[in-house]
């Protein structure tokens, strides 16, 4: 991070994505403990007795460790975003304005575009106060992406998956710079790809600052753990 000029990062442990969110979340905490520049992200599953804590307990645990971003891996852990599967989790995230990153990475098909835009739009529209951030391996189907951003003001895109020509400028002009979040997927991908797209984008310095950190700080700052 130092070499690339990245001062802070959201992190999650590989185990959170590939084996067990519960175990991975503990490892994520261990890795970030005592390093203020690393912010832990909690990987969540649909609430299910004997596998997960109830949603309110999940959130209390996040509060206890000051975790301000959640992450879902629907393809890795084979669950749906539909109400029958994830409503309780999404509702409580929305109640506390906790940003949720929906990560369509699929280790079985690491080069495929697997974003389920229909479900993403449905989630954004069912929970209009929930900040939704989408990422995956690569957006090569940006017609769905642009349509979804047009329909969902609470939808944000993380940059490590956005590779297309002048995409940063295009999204900033159409939807506003507040809809993009800088991300690299370090240490799998080379962080210079996303850095180059922001540093050389033909947008204002103010917009670059928003994409680079301002937008994410704002979303994390809006999380409220008040229990009424």
């Amino acid at each position: 991070m130092e070499y690339y000029g990245i001062s802070e990062a959201l992190i999650f442990h590989a185990v959170s994505m590939e084996n067990s969110p519960q175990l991975g979340n503990r490892l994520t905490l261990q890795e970030s403990l005592g390093t203020p520049s690393l912010h832990p992200v909690w990987s969540l599953l649909p609430a299910m007795p004997r596998e997960t804590s109830p949603p309110d307990v999940m959130i209390q645990e996040m509060e206890k460790f000051n975790v301000r971003v959640a992450r879902l891996f629907p393809l890795q852990f084979h669950f749906d975003l539909d109400g029958w599967c994830l409503a309780e989790v999404l509702q409580i995230l929305s109640d506390h304005s906790i940003p949720v990153i929906i990560d369509y990475f699929d280790s079985g098909m690491p080069h495929a575009d697997r974003t389920d835009w229909r479900s993403v739009v449905d989630v954004c529209q069912r929970y209009p106060d929930l900040p939704v951030i989408v990422t995956e391996f690569r957006f090569r189907t940006n017609r769905r992406l642009y349509q979804a951003m047009d329909k969902c003001p609470n939808l944000h895109i993380e940059l490590s998956a956005l590779w297309l020509f002048r995409a940063v400028e295009s999204i900033c002009r159409r939807f506003g710079a507040e809809r993009l979040l800088f991300g690299t997927r370090l240490p799998i991908r080379d962080p210079s790809c996303a850095l180059g797209m922001v540093n050389y984008a033909m947008i204002s310095e103010e917009e670059k600052a928003m994409v680079a950190s301002g937008n994410l700080r704002k979303l994390m700052g809006a999380v409220h753990y008040d229990w009424g």
């Binding site: 297309l164 002048r166 080379d190 210079s192 790809c193």
Partner: protein, 260 residues
């Protein structure tokens, strides 16, 4: 070999245009339309705006339309762009693997229009290079000392055989790979493009097996974003001399030697 204090790294970190260097992008697409995605700013004006922003002097380009629908239309678009911007654009003829009877006619037509290289991309045309008998095309490239850039050349042995049989033709491996390192070391007329070097440390990994004077920078714009392909070279932990070769000097040497 740190690159930490190098010129290119400093420019990249500040998002500053590259000045007083020869920068050539060896792998770009032109045409503005593609079935897979919408391409904002995808016309020639939009491309030149980005080239000027980055400090790229010249691009080698081929058409989207030639990839999978109408290669004649696509090649005409490229020829027009070359005519309009001869100092900025080097045009390649795209061929369709499924129309062998039109290959040589199209190559002749395009060469007369000023196109200097050949683009092959069988994987988007329902076949592969190894399954397609491109012998007439290879022979044409050999006879006219032309560059051929291929999306995927197949096995290293296959490419090694072509480079041996057609020594006057130039074979550019269109996408980042390290599997051809031995062929690149052995064969003078084979070059590696950096296009889509996106995994952590890809450029450094390539340089551990291949010299910079066999590597050319390619971005895949207007499919991918220009800086997406440029930045991994600017940020790479290697010398500015290596970066200079990859970013332009090697490709200029290839063009001087092979472009008709």
């Amino acid at each position: 070999m740190t690159g930490v204090e190098g010129k290119f790294l400093r420019l990249a970190k500040s998002g500053l245009r590259i000045e007083n260097e020869l920068i050539m992008d060896a792998h770009t697409h032109l045409g503005g339309y593609f079935n897979l995605y919408h391409i904002p700013f995808g016309d020639v004006k939009g491309i030149l705006e980005q080239l000027d922003r980055l400090g790229i002097d010249k691009i080698c380009t081929f058409s989207f339309a030639g990839v999978n629908s109408d290669f004649t239309l696509g090649n005409d678009l490229v020829a027009q762009a070359v005519k309009d911007y001869p100092d900025r654009i080097v045009g390649y003829t795209t061929l369709n693997a499924n129309y062998p009877e039109e290959w040589i006619t199209e190559l002749e037509r395009c060469r007369e229009m000023g196109l200097k290289g050949i683009k092959i991309i069988c994987e988007y045309q329902g076949t592969t290079t190894e399954r397609t008998n491109f012998s007439p095309v290879y022979q044409y490239a050999n006879d006219h000392q032309m560059i051929m850039l291929n999306h995927y050349w197949g096995s290293p042995n296959f490419l090694d055989g072509l480079a041996e049989e057609y020594p006057n033709a130039c074979f550019i491996i269109g996408h980042y790979s390290t599997q051809y390192a031995e062929v690149l070391r052995k064969k003078k007329n084979v070059y590696q493009c950096t296009c889509a070097a996106l995994m952590f440390g890809d450029i450094e990994k390539l340089l551990r097996s291949v010299e910079a004077d066999k590597i050319v920078y390619g971005s895949d714009l207007t499919d991918l974003d220009g800086p997406f392909g440029l930045a991994p070279i600017l940020y790479a932990k290697t010398s500015d001399e290596d970066k200079r070769k990859i970013l332009g000097l090697t490709m200029q040497r290839v063009l001087d030697e092979y472009s008709c």
